[in-house]
């Protein structure tokens, strides 16, 4: 399916994960990939191509911003979440929480987080 606008719900997995990764601190590309991999325990492993493809669209939609690279060893450009991106991430998280609540109501999901 051709991808829809990057800022419409539901968010694709890469876009949401990138927003999560940048929620607490600015990071550059490789650091984003590592943070996502560690946080999701290997469940989501982005390739560099996927990452930068998403980053390009998110920049265009104003969800994230580019920062100037620091002087010295680190020459890669870090990215920072923008207010629009933060708001979007919140809306997606709320949507997922609602979906989890529905599933719990139907006894498809237990009360303990993370599992069956």
């Amino acid at each position: 399916m051709p991808p829809g606008p990057v800022d419409s719900l539901p968010l694709t997995v890469p876009v949401f994960q990138i927003l999560l990764a940048l929620a607490d601190a600015p990071r550059h590309g490789y650091a984003i990939i590592r943070e996502i991999e560690e946080r999701t325990d290997g469940e989501v492993r982005l390739t560099a191509s996927t990452l930068y493809g998403a980053v390009a669209r998110m920049l265009e939609a104003g969800l994230i911003e580019e920062l100037e690279p620091k002087r010295g060893r680190e020459r890669r450009r870090p990215y920072r979440i923008a207010p629009a991106g933060r708001a979007l991430a919140r809306r997606e998280a709320a949507r997922l929480a609602r979906a989890a609540a529905w599933a719990r109501g139907k006894r498809l999901l237990s009360r303990t987080p993370g599992g069956e």
Binding site: P14, G29, T47, S49, T50, R76
Partner: protein
């Protein structure tokens, strides 16, 4: 720019703007991810990561967007779609799968045999260090160039040179084996103690022969071959330690060797014969110390293991430096073991392999052309799929999956067929074929089969995938593009077919020429059999000479026998090369030392085998042991050494075997026509004949000519006659002389037949292609043809136009094919006989024949074009 970035060539796949903005960071991230993958999971994890990255990169390149996180979900759907499409086109599916299966089976079988003989590792340790060492003739161009080794020379090499880690002698041996069913002649090898250690192979049971077994007084031991163990002892494990009576003496079985091709029967010139019979058992040399003093009997082969990193050239140089002087001035020839044994079949096997690749290419082009033709018809199908949301890229992937499944189906059918063929192949090939390892579906062979299937899949998918990838949407393919592609593919098929047909023609012509060669002796209705007399009974020359004569008389007396003779070997298997001294005469004072085949024959031999007497006379029964030695030479001897009748020859062999009772000086009394000794395609060598009355034989070949009918039928009678003369004589391997020739011609014959079969198959495919293409063209152009006919063009001209088009396509293919044939043919020249690969007459005939065939294939469409009804054509368009 630092080296890491310079290497990121793949960034060029990305759109320019994206690359400028993100390229550097992306390359850095990829580098870091690689390193991390390698650190956590080694090369495999790194490779897996790179595969994912490549996939997403391609996706990014196409759309400028990232791929969805889980793209493989679609694959199952693709497979289901592929199955549905295949079922909807059963004719095409069946054709494709069968064609792929056939081509894959052919290639896999050819590769399996070739690798079993030429490439797969031998069962010997470090087999690349194994060599055969022969004695070498002093001058260049001497005939033969290399020949068997004497014991003395072997001892010299073993003790005083450094090039070899180990050396061993091997020589022919034949024993009467006493079994419950009487005496059976068993052939094997007598070897020096280090033989198996030099080869580097261990036993299946028991132990191998060791140097201790050669010591004087050691118990007589014997090691069995695997085949002999199975056939004579039923494969029972309790054979070790048993005694068998070989040659009248008990020998203890100490081991059984695994199946392999061992250097066993050396024959001159410098060839190791392979046939199952010659590899039945091994015994240590009797009297190695005596053998090592004998500098005259050239009867052994030598196998050696090079030391360390010594090269063959170095070993040869070291041995050459030790060459003596005078008559014994021989150097050495050091050659790789594998090459020596398989040399004769290397080229035929490669020819077969290349031909099977040619068949593969023709099949691939054929299928591709069919796909091109069908592509337009499938446009509706594609349009439907795209309406359901598949992008052109996705569609291309679906097609790739479809053809992948076809190829997999073809491989699943073809590879097991090849496996079955490979398993049966050793049974179909002549016993003398050097099957160095057992052919089977091993790694390389499976890879060849899979590769063939993959190649065919690519050729089938190429056109549709390319059109979709380029187009983005399914634009109608221009008629010109399709026509060009079709023409190129058909022409390609015709060109490869031409090359194959030329090869087949060359091979068949060679075979015909070889068969037409004059052998110099008759083979019609001739039976030969190996006869051995018991050594303990015939210890002196005169009793042996009289039993030899008795045998010939007894066999010749049979009603069905037109003539009989006894000789050391048949002309086709002659292998006793001797140094002969031509004693000086007034006109030519100094002695000359020459090599010649020594042929020991009964007096009636020449008459029985119809060898023509050119000058003088041949043997009579009155020239016996006490009389002056007489000899007959052949024309090749006279060509090499001048007129010889009346000259005296000194030949030591008879006296060496029988002592002073036998002559050592022979007067030449006649000249006979050349017999071809080493197959019909080798020139005759100089030969000297002596009579069995003056050089009696304990072992030899009995020759019997049947009065009528098949020689095979004579065997029981001849055996009975032999047994009546000497009850303990062994009588084995009775076969027609023509059968020996057939075995010698087997490589040529088999190669010619197989390549002819391949070229017939390729021709059928190519002609079908021509027919199919022209038919399609006619159908497409119906409207145009209809208009032309309506406007008055004679139908004949329309038909001719189609034929001309067929000629043009085929002509291009044939021309390209001839170029390939001439270029590749040079590799074949060494093997061809009586015909050269660049033979203009042959090339022209093949070209003409193929053009004519193509025109014939184009006739039905041409006729259909001529009969086009203009009204119907214009109406239906």
């Amino acid at each position: 720019m630092d080296p890491e970035r310079r290497r990121a060539w793949w960034l060029r796949l990305l759109p320019a703007a994206f690359r400028r903005r993100f390229g550097d960071d992306l390359a850095d991230a990829v580098h870091d991810l690689r390193v991390a993958a390698r650190a956590s999971g080694g090369r495999r994890a790194e490779f897996r990561y790179l595969a994912r990255e490549a996939r997403d990169l391609m996706s990014l390149a196409r759309t400028g967007r990232g791929a969805p996180a889980v793209p493989w979900r679609g694959l199952v759907g693709d497979v289901r779609w592929g199955v549905r499409m295949a079922v909807r086109r059963p004719g095409w599916t069946a054709t494709a799968v069968l064609t792929i299966a056939g081509a894959v089976a052919t290639l896999t079988t050819a590769q399996g045999v070739a690798s079993a003989v030429l490439w797969r590792p031998l069962p010997f340790a470090n087999a690349s260090r194994l060599v055969l060492v022969w004695e070498g003739a002093p001058g260049p161009g001497a005939s033969p160039e290399a020949f068997r080794v004497t014991g003395a020379r072997f001892a010299d090499w073993r003790d005083d040179t450094h090039a070899f880690a180990s050396l061993a002698l091997f020589g022919a041996a034949a024993f009467p084996l006493e079994t419950d069913d009487g005496v059976q002649n068993v052939r094997g090898a007598r070897v020096s103690g280090a033989y198996f250690q030099t080869l580097g192979i261990g036993p299946v049971l028991g132990r191998v022969l060791l140097p201790e077994d050669e010591r004087p007084g050691a118990e007589r031991v014997v090691v069995l071959s695997y085949e002999f163990w199975q056939s004579a002892f039923g494969g029972r494990r309790d054979v070790i330690g048993r005694l068998i009576r070989l040659g009248g003496e008990p020998s203890r079985i100490v081991g059984v060797m695994p199946r392999a091709v061992y250097p066993a029967w050396p024959v001159n010139p410098a060839v190791v014969t392979i046939d199952a019979d010659a590899r039945q058992l091994w015994v240590p040399l009797a009297n190695p110390s005596t053998i090592e003093l004998n500098g005259r009997a050239h009867v052994f082969g030598v196998v050696g293991r090079l030391r360390g990193s010594t090269t063959m050239a170095q070993a040869q140089a070291e041995l050459d430096a030790r060459a003596g002087s005078g008559i014994d001035r021989h150097g050495a020839r050091v050659r790789p073991l594998r090459n020596e044994i398989v040399g004769a079949v290397r080229l035929p096997l490669l020819v077969l392999l290349v031909s099977s690749i040619a068949v593969l290419l023709v099949a691939g082009a054929n299928l591709a052309a069919l796909e091109v033709a069908q592509f337009d018809a499938r446009r509706d199908e594609f349009a439907t799929r795209m309406a359901l949301g598949a992008g052109a890229a996705r569609l291309a992937r679906q097609i790739a999956v479809e053809t992948g499944m076809l190829a997999a189906a073809g491989a699943v059918v073809g590879i097991p067929v090849a496996g079955a063929a490979l398993a049966r192949l050793p049974g179909w090939l002549p016993a003398a074929f050097p099957m160095m390892t057992t052919p089977a579906l091993h790694g390389g062979t499976l890879a060849a089969g899979a590769g063939a299937a993959a190649l065919l899949a690519v050729s089938v998918a190429a056109w549709p995938v390319w059109r979709l990838w380029r187009g983005g949407t399914v634009r109608p393919v221009t008629a010109r593009a399709r026509a060009t592609a079709s023409r190129v593919l058909i022409a390609a098929q015709v060109s490869v077919t031409t090359a194959l047909v030329v090869a087949a023609a060359l091979l068949v012509t060679s075979l015909t020429h070889v068969r037409a060669q004059q052998a110099g002796f008759t083979m019609a209705r001739v039976l030969v059999a190996s006869v051995s007399l018991p050594e303990d009974r015939y210890r002196d020359p005169s009793s042996t000479a009289s039993v030899d004569a008795g045998l010939v008389e007894a066999v010749a007396a049979r009603a069905d026998v037109a003539g009989a003779a006894f000789a050391y070997d048949t002309p086709l298997t002659a292998n006793w090369i001797e140094w002969v001294t031509i004693v000086g005469a007034p006109a030519d004072p100094s002695d000359r030392h020459r090599q010649a085949q020594l042929r020991i024959v009964s007096p009636g031999y020449f008459r029985v085998l119809q060898v023509r007497v050119l000058d003088g006379r041949t043997f009579t029964t009155s020239e016996g042991l006490g009389a002056q030695g007489v000899a007959v030479v052949n024309a090749a001897f006279e060509r090499a050494n001048g007129a010889s009748i009346g000259r005296r020859l000194r030949i030591g062999a008879a006296r060496a075997t029988w002592g002073a009772a036998a002559p050592d000086s022979f007067v030449v009394i006649g000249e006979v026509a050349d017999e071809r000794f080493r197959g019909l395609d080798q020139p005759s060598q100089p030969a000297v004949y002596v009579s069995t009355r003056q050089f009696p034989l304990l072992d030899g070949m009995l020759i019997a000519v049947a009065r009528q009918g098949e020689p095979d039928a004579l065997a029981p009678e001849v055996r009975a006659a032999v047994r009546r003369v000497e009850a303990r004589a062994t009588f084995d391997h009775a076969r027609p002389l023509a059968g020996i020739l057939a075995d010698q011609l087997a490589p040529r014959r088999i190669t010619a037949r197989v390549v002819t079969a391949f070229s017939a198959g390729a021709l059928a495919l190519a002609l079908l292609g021509v027919y199919g293409l022209l038919r399609l063209l006619v159908v497409e152009r119906r409207r145009e043809i209809g208009i032309r006919i309506a406007l008055g063009a004679p139908p004949g001209r329309v038909a001719r136009g189609i034929l001309v088009e067929a000629c043009a396509i085929a002509g291009g293919g044939v021309a390209a094919g001839l170029v390939i044939a001439v270029a590749a043919g040079r590799a074949l020249d060494a093997w061809l006989f009586g015909v050269s690969s660049a033979n203009p007459a042959l090339l022209t005939s093949v070209a003409a024949a193929l053009l004519a065939a193509s025109v014939a294939a184009a006739l039905p469409p041409a006729r259909r074009a001529a009969r086009t009804d203009p009204v119907a054509a214009m109406r239906n368009s």
